[in-house]
Symmetry: C2
Subunit: 258 residues, 2 copies
């Protein structure tokens, strides 16, 4: 029996459903039970490194059937949000090919020079001085800054690697400008896209995630029910857990079902 009555379920991916390539035990059964009970499920990720189809394929391979439309990640949300601000604008991208593909698919003119209205900043393992310089020149010509996600580092097998915060900080430091919008968790922007996909109100939705400072903070702000799982980054004795007070704190996603 599902512990909460809500119709809409937003499930974080890394640390909640899988850790790296390993499925969290019980995730397949829990998601099957939610769906079997008529609940709607969407998957949420701050990572702009793969396409939504890639994430869906990974979930399906691990035993959780998913379509690309069931996955909301920061690339998609950035492209959608920027389309509301400045449709079809020329953009320079500090990011990897899946993000570029998402922006192109949304009608943006992705350029390799500074003749742009926006500099899009993301987790980019190909970041270098030339990109930093192009961003500076673009801002000197009046371009604005928008970013996918605020994460300092990204957890990987045996440690962590630099995430989007590194690229943002470099651009902000040399331009003297601040990033005007960050669309990923804990921004309400990604949550609104996800709720629209679910077709439910915030009051009828639950967010399940392993990061107290993104998943749970964001859910609380918008009035969703919140479930912190301890299968990822946040530990039970983290002082923020008592302070932010998720509705449920569970060992893992398995425990959503009684």
């Amino acid at each position: 029996m599902v512990r909460l009555p809500h119709r809409g379920w937003l499930l974080d991916l890394d640390g909640t459903i899988y850790v790296g390539e390993a499925l969290v035990p019980g995730a397949v059964e829990t998601i099957a039970a939610l769906r079997g009970d008529g609940r709607r499920v969407v998957f949420l990720s701050n990572k702009p490194l793969q396409t939504r189809a890639d994430y869906a394929a990974k979930l399906t391979r691990l035993g959780v059937p998913a379509a690309a439309e069931d996955v909301i990640n920061s690339s998609l949300v950035l492209a959608r949000h920027l389309a509301t601000l400045d449709v079809g604008a020329p953009v320079f991208v500090i990011g990897e090919p899946p993000l570029v593909a998402e922006l192109t698919a949304h009608g943006f003119e992705v350029r390799r020079d500074e003749r742009v209205r926006w500099v899009v900043i993301a987790f980019d393992r190909t970041f270098d001085y030339a990109k930093l310089n192009t961003a500076l020149q673009a801002v000197r010509r009046g371009a604005r800054l928008i970013a996918t996600n605020p994460d300092r580092t990204c957890p990987v097998e045996g440690g962590e690697i630099p995430d989007c915060a590194g690229m943002m900080a470099a651009v902000e430091a040399v331009t003297g400008e601040t990033v005007s919008v960050i669309v990923g968790k804990p921004s309400p922007i990604i949550l609104e896209v996800a709720l629209a996909r679910l077709g439910v109100d915030a009051r009828d939705a639950v967010i399940v995630g392993d990061r107290i400072e993104t998943d749970i903070v964001m859910g609380k702000r918008l009035g969703l029910a919140t479930v912190l799982v301890l299968s990822g980054v946040t530990r039970a004795d983290d002082p923020r857990v008592a302070e932010i007070a998720p509705d449920l704190v569970l060992p893992s996603i398995r425990d959503l079902i009684r």
Copy 2:
């Protein structure tokens, strides 16, 4: 006749003696007059992109005879200062070959991996994600951060390019650590090295520079006489000029001689 009586003269390079490849008119005659009058002259630069010998060769080529020992730049000062903190330490360098050469010459073990005690951060036109990641891994193993100079950008023909502040901000953002020492202007560290080279006290020294926020602020802090020249970055109507109040504000270095 020299306008000020001090024996020691610290002259900034870019924006004060030359702008790019062009000598500031009157610089050759002014420096010759200072030397002819028995004043001691040292050249100061925050730039770690060339060796001291390179700067001396450029000055000599432009008509200002100079030896490598007359030039104090942030690479030299960093190597000397770090030698007082942790002589011979293994270091990872975000920087270009002249800085690496200076550190090697001072006995440091420059490594390309994270097995180091210090991450040295400088203006680096070859900065990339791999270096950022190595810096992160080094800090996770306990390495500390030290940097050459705090400049946001470096003026170039027709504009500016990202300087050391970009690399520092990226490393600080992903590691969550702050740079513990920045040796370049306006740090007293570079000024103390320059005064030692001149062999005079701060009270008997003048600093001449074009940047109110580095050259002049630093000089004021340590009690030197200060001369702002308007041949470089700072404009006469900059509100900081009235606030910080250099002893003299002159159109250019030429006007040091009456």
